[in-house]
């Protein structure tokens, strides 16, 4: 079974700083997806960024980028120029391919990120 580990329960940085959230996972599969989801106090889970395992290039999405190390099974999220609105729980998730391309996700325990003014 796949497992996802986020070793940082909480992090706190000043506005405009760069912060990196770590995530490791364990799987025997070679074709899979990795995700970072953000959950603000509203409880709505929001997709931040997605990485396909067969792609070597690290995914980027504006101020968000990942460092995907497939051999090490590591998938960290870097937030540049952090903003107050980035304050949230961040979940790393692993998705394997199911029939018809749907995803069954396994989530880490989450990292609570606070951006201070």
């Amino acid at each position: 079974a796949q497992t996802v580990t986020q070793s940082q329960p909480e992090m706190s940085v000043q506005e405009a700083e760069t912060v990196t959230l770590s995530c490791t996972y364990d799987t025997s599969e070679s074709n899979y997806y990795l995700f970072w989801y953000k959950q603000p106090p509203s409880r709505q889970m929001i997709l931040v960024i997605r990485q396909e395992a067969y792609k070597q290039q690290n995914a980027t999405e504006n101020r968000f980028s990942v460092n995907f190390q497939k051999a090490a099974k590591s998938f960290s999220l870097k937030i540049s120029d952090s903003q107050l609105g980035d304050t949230a729980m961040y979940f790393c998730a692993f998705g394997n391919r199911l029939s018809q391309g749907a995803q069954k996700l396994v989530f880490g325990q989450g990292t609570r990120l606070t951006i201070n003014p």
Binding site: Q44, F91, Q103
Partner: protein, 111 residues
């Protein structure tokens, strides 16, 4: 609406009562998931529906939990004889291939 809709948003019940939680997925999404999020924890997979296939119930924690999806759209998660450890946020998600779209969850509190 454009997103995944869940009701009720909050539910307080007494131990031993049955509860039903509802999920309206995004129109056209064939797959639907239920996850449970206990306080300060990550998301725990409960059950997954995909089209007309038999659901994947491997995450349901006990036989007090059941779910159905009628007409390939709306889903109901039922918890019978609720226990205090059932208190959590229950999140529903629907998906085309590649991404899960989540609702805002139903917070269940069992007194």
């Amino acid at each position: 609406g454009a997103g995944v809709s869940q009701s009720p948003s909050n539910k307080v019940t007494e131990k031993g009562k049955d509860v039903e939680l509802r999920c309206d997925p995004i129109s056209g999404h064939t797959a639907l998931y239920w996850y449970r999020q206990s306080l300060g924890q990550g998301l725990e997979f409960l059950i997954y529906f995909q089209g007309n296939s038999a659901p994947d119930k491997s995450g349901l924690p006990s036989d007090r939990f059941s779910a159905e999806r009628t007409g390939g759209s709306v889903s109901t998660l039922t918890i019978q004889r609720t226990q205090q450890e059932d208190s959590a946020v229950y999140l529903c998600a629907s998906t085309p291939p590649g991404e899960l779209f989540f609702g805002e969850g139903s917070r269940l509190t069992v007194l």
